[in-house]
Symmetry: C5
């Protein structure tokens, strides 16, 4: 739940643009990788500081991709800001790992913040989010990740091996490829949660006793979290598509249009599952009510049949001195017969009421 | 449920535009049919490969309709792409049989993806969807179906026999006719599911005991699936209607307007049924609660009447040596009378409370 | 429920624009009435075929109103189409009595489809709908009704007697008057259903036992049907008001604006009643729950008080040879006293719990 | 409930523009007051007929305010219509006291219909509405009220005593002042109903037994009615603000902007209370369920403990000739001990289940 | 609840623009502070009356910030209005501490009303709101607070110490900084209430008995209040961003854009928590129902097993003279055996029904 909002105490009262890292684990070591490529050459290396980057990314025709992972310190951000002309408010957004996903275009830069969904562990089905910030400038892309995971390794491989269009295209295509990669992980997350919904559905249908109704609510919440970070991605892609600026070429927009389609698909699928879960809550309530009905019917039938019988037995168990029936020869069998008649009459009554 | 999303593992990590078939059954044999017609001639034949198509569709005044069914291999798609100038991202969308319905206009082509609803089997009332992709270019229409069903046979017949306007019209009219055909199947699906809703309603009114409340939820879900694929068709038709491009002639737009009306009708009808089902959930809950009330009333009346009677019988069944009543001549009848009075008083009480 | 969708089997597979009558009762005889009027003359006569119409409606300054009722055959429609220049798709819409209400402007014609609500019978409160199609052209109005009811008799009378503005106005005013007449029937339907809501409300307040909760759901559904056909009328009127074409004069628009106000009023009132019915569902659930609570309290109090008393009686009904109390002189009265103390203690307990 | 719609039988079938009074009480005597003022003079008098008005309102620099209350007859409306150039459709709207609130600008006139909320009586909390129609023309304002209440007396006083800006301003300011006065009464109504919501909330928190759940639903309905007439006022003010016509001066628009703010505030507050009431329905349901749980627990604990004890007593109350325990010296105490053990075991069981 | 609307009796009937203080505590002493600064100088002092302000704020290049706290009297407002050219309607809005948050641009001034959320006390989780009104004019900012809290102390400190950009920027940046400060307090409030939601969630999961379901509803209401004042802030910032006027420079808009992002984030987070709370209501209902089911099952099993046993005991406790079984040697053990068989059969039955 605290996933909604990270504590902001560190920042409170500071002037806007102050560079304070808000991530949870401040100790993730920083790694910087620079990949510089053109249609016919690739160069990838780890950087120790950003001065190297300056030396390496000299060829104006190359596309340079600077990928920074870990809990970045203020000094690095200041360097990045100066070298690439990024405003301090944007640098602050990168460090504020609780920032809302968004896209902004200013100063010939496009700045995108997206959330990468990850299944925390396979059993609980909890989804956590990593903030990924990407800048697109002329000839370069800078991406920030909270964790040094190999999220973008497939793209690195495509660059290295020259698969697909990435090598022959400009920086805007790389920018697209990174966002597309993030969207792929939404498909994974939705698929995984969706399988859980399906499993719950099967359990509901079998009317299992150990059905855990909490799981419906929990899944609903997970889809809520997923939706909350997927919708701004969809909106960001829409705003990129309708942008008049020329940081992104017309030919690349076709790819963004494709990514936009996927983002709509994801949001619609999430909404669909949320509807299904709503139906499950209803189905579960119905199941509970039906069972309660059944239990109470059994109770009623049993209690209602035996109550008058026990009463008759009680009457003939009274110790009055003068009770004519007691002395009858067939009194006992008469009483048993009476009980039988009463029982049968009640059974017939319940049969007609369709309780049996 | 997995109907929401097909597993994407095959595609994961591949660059966009990779041609991988995502359909479930890869083994449906591919069939290609080319129909070439003008107001006064028709020619229909099965193709083995696309090179034939080139030879046949030579008359520029003819309309050529290439219909491809089955699980298409990559090579065919590459051929289609080259011959008709279709971008690889669109080819990829054709193979991705899980794609969201949409319309796109680019490069003098209109590309439409729609979902054809089919009742899986008559009893379960489950609706499955087949993806149909249609390209409209200058003088040609290309359609892709997952299964070699005779979905479009009525249109083929109209072309063969020259019924309606199709022969005298251009390719855009054929394009419309295919989409209109798909919309017809939505009417069928809605009609079929609607009949089930009606049946449930009648059962609810008769307050049948074996009423299966799961069916309400299941129907709700089926309508949800239907809506999810019908809404984008409506939106696609709207966007075609408001398009300024001239792939579709003004005279044909009148027909698209008609199809658009139908698509609105379908979505509104689906929404109407969803509202009705919502009402049924409420009605069912009320029915369950009313019954529970009734059962519990019976239990209460019986238990409450016999409990004091049995108690009285219990008192006079005690074995105290000195119990004056026991020795009374009419003690027994006195006790029976007492019981009667208590029972009548309670019956009067319940009568006044209107529980009887 | 089948009111949502009429079976379309007759049309299936036919090319668009095929003229097939979809109404339920094909046997309603067709009646054609032509009223031709100017500020100072009126002429009304029944037609046998449309050739007469040509002869009669010769004065270009006159307004001609052709009213056709019953299950129209194809041949008449073809005649109408040719004589007045109406496209076959529109003719098809007239015959498709299940068509969604709409307005379309094309070829100097305005075409409107509306649904006339009728209370099927006074008791059930079911609303059925008759499709009314109206064409407005230069100097003429053509209206189609499914049934030969006297829906428009008041307008005929106003024309005959020269009441109001209709005689001195153009065809567009007549067009308005017909639509306004239909809207009046919505007021009737809403008023009638609204009275039922009110009656239910009173019954709920009196907490009657024979309250039929199905009626709430049924009324909700009727309002749903009503809304479904009233909303497109509102939207049609809005689109007529904002139309730039000059089929409808500025002075007549004032009247359309008035009709538009009424259509908004109707939709808002329907929505209001739907909200009230939502509240009734809640109120009914609360009533049921409160009653169940009360019943169970009675059961609990009775059962809980007598259970220990019966137990005490049972104990002293045991047949052990050595039970000291049994031989006490006042054993019996001691046991009765004990029971009294237990009963009073329990009564006090329930009093404090406020169950009594 | 009939508050939603007044019966329209009187009007049915009449041509539009027919002047028929639809108010409930036709017998409210008509009163006409004319106030004519300029920055330095005021003249107020009751009129017997409208001819006087003509004589009095001669100075073109004066602002004339004609206030007409009561159930106006047709003849007066016709006079008003002729003298001030008001279209008969608008006159009809004034008489139709069930008209939807609206604003219209035409023929250099602004016509506004608003509903004045009144608490019918303090106890029931029912809100009734009086229709107020106001016309703004060049130099004059005409207002119609259903009842001769002193709704506008404070404004009259401000005119008489020259308080505020009203005397020095034009007719448009008076027009604003009247609307603003109506809005003030919405604040009163919302405040009063809001106090009831608060009281219900306190009662719910104390879990009172005589809590009347009907009141929640009734209050919800009252807010529904209030909203239904407040929203069109908000929308009317918005449309006045964005109007390009110059009936209302720029300097007066600032006041309308203020009134618009208030109308938004009222609608938002109503929506807020409706949300609170929704929460109360949930809270009430929870309360009922919790209590039911508690009652049933008591029943279960009692019944479950005494049932086996009574059974044991029953066993030793059997009359078999050969029952060893009966002849034991300590048989009685053994049986009592057995009962104690069983009772304690059950108590422990319920304790562990936390039912005690 | 009365937090929705403060009583307006004081104002009723007064002409608009009347300056009447509506705050609750009229006795908060007024404090006026003037801070005048330029990039290289700061001057802060308490004012006794506004004439001093005139003397002090002479340098046209300086930014002057006049901060007024407490329950301001009419005379001060009149002075402020005259000195800074503020319309009396705006002055009235400042005093009406119940005003809806808004932004208005007129006469080269921007006027903003926002609500500062405060946790009333830590335990109850109730949020109260203080109204803050801010004017931005050329070279000056005037802010009004209801309470003399040190809300803006951090900004004062930044001005004094020259931290961040505030000293080097214009008045519009100060205007931004004040609004940003208010937004920070929304984060605090949301964080605090969110922690409560989380705590409730944990309690629900542990299915605690003393779970107070009222708290869910109360928290929902608090979020409702919070949303009601956060949404207009978001909308105000959006309107400032899209304003074409030049009171706010382009470079400062970047900061407003940042604040706008935060306001969206806050509203989205509030909506997220409201969804979570909706899930909790469902979860709680499920929990109650499950428990009820369990309790009733225990009751049913116990009652149903012992009822027939007690009945058998009752039969053999009857006092008929001729009851063959009573005289059997093993009659007693036969009856016990019979009971055992019945009990086992019922246990088996319940086992199969999975009630045990």
């Amino acid at each position: 739940m605290s996933r909604f909002l990270k504590p902001r105490k560190k920042r409170k009262g500071l002037p806007p643009g102050s560079l304070v890292y808000l991530g949870e684990s401040k100790n993730v070591p920083v790694e910087m990788t620079l990949i510089s490529y053109s249609p016919d050459s690739v160069d990838e290396r780890r950087l120790v500081d950003l001065h190297e980057a300056a030396k390496l990314a000299t060829n104006p025709k190359n596309v340079s991709w600077l990928n920074i992972t870990g809990s970045v310190e203020k000094s690095i951000m200041v360097d990045v800001g100066e070298r690439f002309g990024i405003h301090s408010l944007w640098l602050e957004d990168v460090l504020n790992t609780d920032h809302r996903p968004k896209v902004e275009e200013l100063d010939n830069l496009i700045f995108v913040i997206v959330k990468l969904p990850k299944l925390e562990d396979k059993d609980s089905g909890k989804v956590s989010f990593e903030q990924i910030s990407i800048f697109l400038g002329e000839g370069f892309v800078i991406s920030f990740q909270e964790h040094p995971a190999d999220t973008f390794s497939s793209i690195k491989e495509r660059i290295q091996k020259g698969l697909g269009n990435v090598r022959s295209a400009q920086a805007d295509y790389l920018f697209y490829a990174l966002i597309d990669r993030v969207i792929d992980d939404y498909y994974d997350a939705v698929e995984n949660l969706g399988a859980r919904v399906e499993k719950l559905d099967a359990q509901l249908r079998e009317e299992m006793d150990d059905f855990d109704s909490h799981k419906i609510i929990e899944l609903r919440n997970e889809f809520l979290f997923l939706r909350k970070s997927a919708v701004p991605i969809r909106d960001s892609l829409k705003s990129i598509l309708s942008s008049k600026k020329d940081e992104i070429q017309q030919s690349t927009k076709r790819y963004f249009r494709d990514a936009y389609d996927h983002s709509i698909h994801i949001v619609e699928t999430i909404d669909g599952y949320r509807e299904l879960l709503k139906g499950q809550v209803d189905a579960y309530q119905n199941m509970l009510n039906q069972r309660m009905n059944e239990v109470i019917k059994v109770l009623t039938v049993f209690a209602t049949i035996f109550t008058p019988l026990t009463f008759i037995a009680g009457v003939y168990g009274m110790n009055f001195r003068y009770m004519p029936e007691l002395t009858w020869q067939g009194g006992y069998f008469f009483s048993l017969g009476l009980m039988l008649v009463v029982a049968l009459a009640l059974l017939y009554y319940f049969k007609r009421k369709r309780w049996l």
